[in-house]
């Protein structure tokens, strides 16, 4: 039984981009060791924190999207906790994919009826698991 999870980790700003990548790679191998599949590993680069964390004002963010047995989450979180270079993390069970897909489908069906499509919103692409503006610093 596998479930999809999303873990966001925040690394201390004193790291270099490479060091942070290394940490991410090791987390990914942890997931694989536990018979999980990494579906996405998305570094967001250095971002400003909304509030001070361990005296840091910035942090390296990254999103890990994976499919694994629940036990893997514990192991991943344990490792994150032990790693002093990671200051924050959050794991969320991804239970909205179906809902988003259905909404996108509905939208696709509806479009031809209501005349020319409005170019403004394109939710189908906007939520492929969570792209954010910002990206790499």
């Amino acid at each position: 039984m596998t479930t999809r999870y999303e873990t966001i980790v925040v690394g201390v700003p004193t790291l270099t981009e490479e060091e942070f990548e290394e940490i991410l790679t090791s987390l990914q191998s942890t997931i694989r060791e536990g018979k999980g599949t990494v579906l996405k590993c998305e570094p967001w680069g250095k971002r400003k924190l909304a509030y001070r964390v361990q005296k840091f004002d910035e942090g390296y963010y990254a999103l890990l999207f994976y499919e694994s047995p629940p036990a893997v989450v514990h192991e991943v979180e344990r490792r994150i906790r032990m790693n002093e270079r990671l200051v924050k993390f959050l794991t969320v069970k991804v239970d909205w994919e179906e809902r988003v897909a259905r909404a996108a489908e509905l939208k696709a069906q509806r479009k031809p009826r209501s005349g020319p499509p409005r170019p403004v919103d394109d939710m189908a692409d906007a939520f492929d698991g969570g792209d954010m503006e910002g990206g790499r610093a």
Binding site: L49, A50, Y51, F89, V100, M123, G130
Partner: protein, 85 residues
């Protein structure tokens, strides 16, 4: 899901025209209020950092619940503030 008519309140004089409130998420057909979308969430936490009440924003109950969850998650990973001083 947007009602058209303002409920008639006979005893009250209307001296200011107030725009009808509606749920932004219903209107824009947002399928998911993503906790990672700090830009979007920011619009629902005014300066003080508190969650904007429904009576102000007009968000429907279902979406307000989802929004609340998203804001709380975003706070947990320092995407948006708990408070500002």
């Amino acid at each position: 899901m947007r009602g058209r008519e303002e409920p008639k309140r006979p005893g009250r004089k209307k001296f200011l025209f107030r725009r009808r409130k509606f749920c932004r998420f219903c209107d824009e057909k947002i399928a998911l209020i993503d906790y990672k979308d700090a830009k979007l969430l920011q619009g629902f936490v005014p300066e003080r950092g508190k969650i904007l009440p429904r009576r102000i924003s007009g968000t429907c109950a279902a979406h307000q619940r989802e929004l609340q969850q998203a804001i709380k998650r975003a706070r947990a990973i320092a995407l948006i503030p708990f408070t500002t001083d």
